[in-house]
């Protein structure tokens, strides 16, 4: 176990080095000077002022120097300050990452809870009307972009029924859980639909394969009920690829909820990242990227460890 965690940590460090280096070079390659963004396009272009700002930000240093400097600071927990807002990047992240993480977590949780029974039903009734109906529904959910679902949910639950607010975000810490959930449930549902569709397809196809196994026939010959066989014999062996996709998609949601965050005016991390990119705010881009990459690796490490819980043959591998 200790050895496993040590290799994972080494892999995390290597991943982070690669990710930060790549984002650093990307932002360096992007056209447009951050100084322009800071001063504003219409500002008086005094070459002396520009030169001073460049010197202050270290923009004149060679690329590698800047990267190593940034890396050294980051290692001590200092991700720097925004060029534009002067806010500490760490502060930005600590305010915004929990919001996005909560959205992603709720979306994945809802998707899994829906997808497992839907996928199992499709596999159990393969080729019958139950399978055809759920498969068609899943196909629809998969092909509608999540912002369309978001708009529909707002129309239904906010405009027509008036049950939930159309936008904004209440924090658990200041407004309490119930108020928080009122603002979280719609955007999370919008995100969950696509995930549910992906997950249920995966569960269906994996379970169809599992139901062909000899041990399922053997379980049947013991006189066990179909429900018992599905839940106690077929579900676990059918959930390995589901776990993999959950890990990957959870990471993807952390950086990819920007459209939904924009639609629902949620102060999440994706929203901030897009602004930073528009503004060439390299320090903010870099800081947020590192955090998302870390979350990605950590989540996938947890998934890898969970494989062993689900399938005993992987233990002591």
């Amino acid at each position: 176990m200790g050895k496993v965690i040590a290799t994972r940590l080494a892999r995390l460090v290597a991943t982070l080095l690669a990710v930060t280096f790549l984002t650093f070079s990307m932002t360096a390659l992007l056209p447009g000077d951050p100084v322009n963004a800071i001063l504003g396009v219409d500002a008086v272009r005094d070459p002396e002022v520009v030169a001073k700002i460049r010197a202050d930000l270290g923009l004149d240093d060679p690329f590698l120097n800047r990267y190593v400097n940034w890396l050294g600071n980051a290692a001590t927990g200092d991700l720097g300050q925004s060029y534009i807002t002067d806010q500490e990047v760490m502060t930005t992240i600590s305010q915004r990452l929990p919001v996005t993480a909560q959205l992603a977590f709720m979306a994945i949780l809802m998707a899994v809870i829906l997808a497992i029974p839907i996928g199992m039903l499709g596999a159990y009734k393969q080729g019958k009307w139950q399978d055809a109906t759920t498969s068609a529904g899943v196909q629809v959910a998969l092909s509608i972009p999540n912002f369309i679902i978001g708009i529909f949910l707002i129309w239904l639950f906010s405009v027509q029924l008036g049950w939930l607010p159309a936008s904004n975000w209440n924090r658990i810490t200041t407004d309490g859980l119930v108020e928080n959930l009122k603002t979280a449930i719609l955007p999370a549902s919008a995100l969950a639909m696509t995930q549910m569709a992906i997950f249920s397809r995966l569960v269906r196809s994996d379970m169809i394969a599992t139901l062909q196994e000899d041990y399922i026939l053997a379980a049947r010959s013991k006189g066990l009920s179909d429900r018992f066989i599905l839940l106690r014999h077929a579900l676990r062996p059918s959930s390995l690829s589901l776990m993999t996709i959950i890990g990957i998609n959870f990471g993807a949601l952390l950086g990819g909820t920007v459209i939904i965050e924009t639609l629902f005016a949620i102060p999440g991390v994706g929203f901030r990242l897009i602004n930073a990119i528009y503004q060439r705010d390299i320090i903010v881009i870099q800081g947020i990227t590192v955090f998302i990459a870390t979350a990605y690796v950590v989540i996938n490490t947890i998934v890898d460890l969970l494989y062993a819980v689900v399938d005993p043959r992987i233990r002591k591998g």
């Binding site: 080729g127 196994e213 000899d214 041990y215 026939l217 053997a218 379980a219 049947r220 010959s221 013991k222 006189g223 066990l224 009920s225 018992f228 106690r232 014999h233 676990r236 062996p237 689900v310 399938d311 005993p312 043959r313």
Partner: protein, 363 residues
């Protein structure tokens, strides 16, 4: 379902004209095609035949556990007075495990890899008989002791991959015995195992069958396996029974050329070293397109024109049944074989060599 009503003379299981056909692209694949036999309490029936002759489908059709949506079963399966063909899955489930159980071919794949042995041993017991967890555990230890697995208590928390193939098959047998079924199907129970383990498993099965006075159907491709461990033998070819007799009658006088060929293909330790193995020429016929006449004709050393035209009916003489126009041992058969040998028919070569060897040893 009680056994007290069944007298000794009435069979425990009576199969009549059972047919299981699979619809594959509009063609009927006749995996089981009009099979009839009886199994009595405390007796073992061996079903012998090559791979693909329908033996596995047969045993699964009798229990009714075939799940393929393109399969259709007709005929009659009477278990202790109850007709099983046509019963709903829900109704059949009451018989599975409790009245009849099955040991599968490959213990590597017939145990769930992610479920502990203890639970797999008793989950059906708990479902059928409503046992508590501790009662079930006690019984699981008892079961493992019966099938002679050392340290049974420790084994309950094992996963299948922590056991050897022979051990796993013992566990499978224990699972099948758990609810004390009256009828046990063993579908090639030793084919996937090491030769050294095969005998132990077969002996274990035979001993449990004797102690519990179960009816047993032992399905195998190996005549050697059934020779000493069965009361009756049915030889299957291309979905049909081609010969059926008591074990002693069958081995003392084989009537069907296929049975004889199977027997010849067993390597014997009494033969000199490097004796050529006697294989049956050709392959089993395609079950979707069976030839008219006898389906063994293309591989039969005795084959005559009539065999390709008229399908031989199963006839019974002194409770020995066989389906052949030229039964082995008849003068017609000897004449046919001589004619085929001199005509140089490839499937008769083995018989020719055997004849020569016999004559050589006589002179």
């Amino acid at each position: 379902m009680s056994s007290s009503a069944v007298s000794d003379s009435r069979p425990l299981l009576s199969v009549r004209d059972l047919r299981t056909h699979f619809d594959v692209g509009g063609h009927a694949v006749k995996a089981v095609d009009g099979v009839s036999f009886d199994v009595y309490e405390g007796k073992t029936l061996g079903i012998v035949g090559e791979s693909g002759c329908g033996k596995t489908v047969l045993s699964r059709s009798i229990m009714g556990i075939t799940t393929a949506s393109n399969a259709s079963t007709s005929g009659s399966v009477n278990y202790a007075g109850t007709e099983l063909v046509g019963k709903s899955k829900r109704a059949l489930r009451a018989f599975w495990g409790e009245e009849m159980a099955m040991v599968f071919q490959d213990p590597m794949t017939s145990l769930n890899p992610v479920v502990r042995i203890g639970r797999q041993l008793t989950e059906h017991l708990r479902a059928h008989k409503k046992l508590s967890k501790s009662e079930a555990n006690e019984l699981a230890v008892q079961l493992l002791t019966w099938v002679r697995i050392p340290e049974p208590k420790e084994r309950l928390s094992n996963f299948p991959h922590q056991m050897s193939g022979g051990m796993r098959q013992r566990v499978c047998i224990a699972i099948a015995l758990a609810c004390s079924p009256k009828l046990l199907f063993a579908d090639e129970p030793t084919t996937a195992l090491d030769v050294t383990v095969q005998h132990q498993i077969l002996n274990l099965l035979a001993q449990q069958q004797q102690e519990r006075q179960m009816g047993m159907v032992l399905v195998t491709h190996d005549l050697g396996v059934v020779a000493t461990r069965t009361d009756d033998i049915a030889v299957m070819y291309a979905g049909k029974i081609v010969e059926k007799a008591s074990t002693s009658a069958l081995f003392s006088r084989m009537r069907h050329p296929y049975t004889q060929s199977l027997f010849w293909s067993i390597p014997k330790t009494s033969e000199p070293k490097h004796t050529r193995l006697s294989a049956i020429v050709g392959r089993p016929p395609n079950l979707a397109a069976l030839p008219s006449g006898c389906s063994f004709a293309d591989r039969c050393p005795y084959v005559q024109p009539i065999c390709r035209e008229v399908e031989p009916k199963l006839q019974t003489i002194d409770s020995h049944s066989f389906a052949c126009h030229l039964p082995v041992g008849s003068t017609e058969a000897e004449a046919a074989l001589s004619a085929n040998i001199s005509a140089g028919l490839p499937q008769s070569e083995g018989a020719a060599a055997r004849r020569e060897a016999q004559q050589g040893s006589l002179t």
